[in-house]
């Protein structure tokens, strides 16, 4: 049963990916300015524009260019960047690694932290701890990411303990990487924790009024045990979903943090590519982001389903 669902979802995911390439390609076409114009900027003249379009094959109709690209992509050949002729696979590989590393680092810090805080806040509802955690996390998310980053740079960067530039020197060891990426990872942790924590707390508090919880309480089960054994398993579905959303965000939405800490991740690559209208690079980056998103969501749905078997038997 669950495998059939996974299979279906994977097939659909592939369709989503395909649709995304069409959407992005179309959007960039609609943007008007093409790569040649963007590249030449002020030095664009009729002559140089025509010459560059010719060289790049931009004279062909849009669908032909899309067809050529998708044909290669299906076979695993993403082509070369228009901007610097480098194979896109090479361009992406290192940056994808960096992005995933930072996301994983931030996730390892934020997921346990936020679920833990959420559980404790639910346990000690309306206590000072609940209030303080609440105000603290709300304040953290109310500040824009770059501002959180700047504050951390000011508070921590000035002590010299951690570098404010997260560009990883070639051949860095794992520990060095952790050290260098600590500030961006901390920034991201602060940014995503509040959302996950509040959702955890809300999901659990929501269940505390249910009759079966009431029953357990009346039987004299300790509060912590009620939450851990009775409320949490039934609150898993929304928690898993919000965690999946935030994990996807850690991979796909961190351009701003990359810029502030000069971290060579995929987000920066994609924004640059959008700016220069380097369509093959945008497409490839969008594909990767979308794939991450689809996979995380699939995982979330599978886990939710497993956590609530009733979902399996719906009509």
């Amino acid at each position: 049963m669950i495998w059939r669902m996974v299979g279906q979802r994977l097939a659909l995911g592939a369709l989503v990916l395909l649709a995304i390439t069409v959407v992005i390609f179309g959007a960039i076409e609609l943007l008007g300015a093409d790569f040649a114009q963007q590249r030449l900027g002020q030095s664009a003249t009729e002559e140089t524009l025509a010459a560059l379009r010719e060289q790049m094959g931009l004279n062909r109709p849009a669908w032909v260019r899309y067809g050529a690209w998708i044909g290669g992509a299906v076979r695993g050949d993403f082509g070369v960047s228009m901007a610097n002729n480098r194979p896109i696979a090479d361009l992406m590989a290192g940056r994808l690694g960096n992005t995933l590393f930072l996301a994983a680092f931030a996730a390892v810090m934020s997921v346990p932290l936020s679920i833990g805080l959420g559980l404790l806040a639910a346990l000690w509802r309306n206590s000072w701890f609940d209030r303080a955690a609440n105000v603290g996390t709300l304040t953290a998310i109310a500040f824009p990411e770059f501002f959180v980053a700047y504050i951390l740079v000011y508070l921590i960067g000035s002590t010299g303990l951690f570098p404010t530039l997260a560009s990883i020197p070639p051949g860095a060891t794992f520990l060095e990487r952790l050290h260098v990426t600590f500030l961006p990872a901390l920034t991201l942790t602060l940014v995503v924790t509040a959302h996950m924590m509040r959702m955890t707390r809300a999901a659990i508090v929501n269940l505390l009024a249910s009759p079966y919880i009431e029953m357990a309480r009346l039987k004299g089960v300790p509060r912590a045990r009620v939450i851990w054994r009775h409320a949490l398993p039934n609150a898993l579905s929304p928690i898993i979903n919000v965690v999946a959303l935030n994990l996807a965000y850690l991979v796909t939405g961190v351009v701003v943090v990359e810029v502030v800490f000069v971290y060579p991740g995929l987000g920066q690559l994609m924004v640059d590519a959008v700016r220069t209208r380097d369509v093959p690079v945008v497409q490839a980056a969008a594909l990767i982001f979308a794939a991450v998103y689809v996979i995380l969501n699939l995982l979330a749905d599978v886990l939710s389903t497993l956590s609530n078997p009733r979902l399996m038997h719906r009509r």
Binding site: L12, G13, L15, V16, I20, V23, I24, A27, I28, L30, L31, R125, N126, R131, N134, L138, T139, I141, A142, F143, P144, E145, F146, F147, Y150, I151, V153, A194, R198, M199, A202, A203, V205, N206, L208, A209, S237, P238, N241, V242, L245, T252, G253, V255, V256, V259, G267, M270, V271, V274, A286, F289, A290, Y293, V294, S304, N308, L311, R314, R315
Partner: protein, 308 residues
């Protein structure tokens, strides 16, 4: 050490002030109003009272901005970066505009935009999400795939593309951010509703032959309300963040319109030198966020039917 103590004193002072404000607000409203409202108000916790007081304050400031602000929103009134004094309470900004006045006008623009956007996002997102969960089948499939499609494109990139296409005006920004937020709301409300849909009372309603609208409105929505309310509080605040992230990428609100998100962006570099100017608009956002979520928590608590 003294720094830590000063901080502690500030924090304690802030808490005491907040509690006092909440208490005062509660007392005043209770005296002024009668009936069931008064009862609800009297029993609400201090935190919620504080939240209400702050929201009320913001609303008043937003509505009466032109009368409260000592100077105009875009008026250049003096030199740049004037220090805080009796004329310019919070000094002036980089162009010599009165910071205090801009913060006040910022309340009007920022809160207005955020409200419009969140309301739109929830109207669309929750309605579709609940419907998808209740209907299941191909409707759910199609809607979920469309949402997947939109969500799979990173939000910033999507808004960058859309806003460049449409032009960066305030209505466009509201539409674009609402569209992107609506996908998140859809996903959450669908997930929550999925758990509700399999409940026996929904089955019962179905067997009774109730229509889709009835099931969504009367059976699913009330039981999916809590997480949605919590989400509303957060989404509302995320709009400010989206706006300031967009201005980080150069597509924010049109100056000279005062808006807190853009004001943070414009002054953000100062914080790395320990200058607190950007904390003013950021603090205004944070205070509102906290206040809104205090009220949301209170409602959440009431909705959950818990007594303690």
């Amino acid at each position: 050490m003294t720094a830590v103590l000063t901080w502690a004193a500030w924090v304690a002072g802030a808490f005491a002030g907040a509690a006092a404000l909440g208490g005062a607000f509660r007392a005043v409203v209770w005296r002024l109003l009668g009936g069931p409202v008064a009862r609800a108000v009297r029993t609400m916790p201090l935190s919620a009272a504080f939240g209400m007081a702050v929201i009320a304050l913001y609303v008043v400031v937003a509505l009466l901005a032109p009368w409260i602000a000592p100077f105009g929103e875009r008026e250049v009134v003096g030199g740049q970066y004037l220090p805080w004094d009796s004329t310019h309470w919070l000094g002036t900004d980089n162009l010599g505009r009165d910071m205090f006045s801009r913060l006040i006008y910022g309340a009007r623009n920022t809160v207005g935009i955020a409200l419009a956007t969140t309301a739109l996002a929830f109207g669309v997102g929750a309605a579709l999400g609940l419907t998808a969960a209740a209907t299941g089948g191909w409707v759910d499939m199609v809607l979920s795939r469309i949402v997947d499609l939109l969500m799979a494109i990173p939000a910033l990139i999507l808004s960058l593309l859309l806003l460049t296409l449409l032009g960066a005006s305030i209505p466009n920004m509201i539409l674009v951010i609402a569209l992107i937020d609506a996908t998140r709301v859809f996903r959450l409300s669908r997930a929550v509703a999925m758990d509700v849909v399999v409940m026996d009372y929904v089955e019962a309603a179905r067997l009774r032959g109730e229509g889709l609208a009835h099931i969504v409105r009367r059976e699913i929505l009330p039981n999916a309300m809590a997480p949605l309310i919590a989400e509303f509080g957060l989404r509302f605040c995320f709009v400010f963040l989206s706006i300031s992230a967009l201005s980080f990428l150069g597509l924010g609100i049109q100056p000279p319109t005062a808006d807190w998100g853009s004001m943070v962006r414009d002054t953000a570099t100062l914080i790395t030198f320990g200058d607190i100017t950007p904390l003013l608009p950021a603090g205004a956002i944070a205070l509102l966020t906290v206040a809104v979520n205090f009220v949301v928590d209170w409602q959440l608590h009431r909705a959950s039917g818990l007594k303690d």
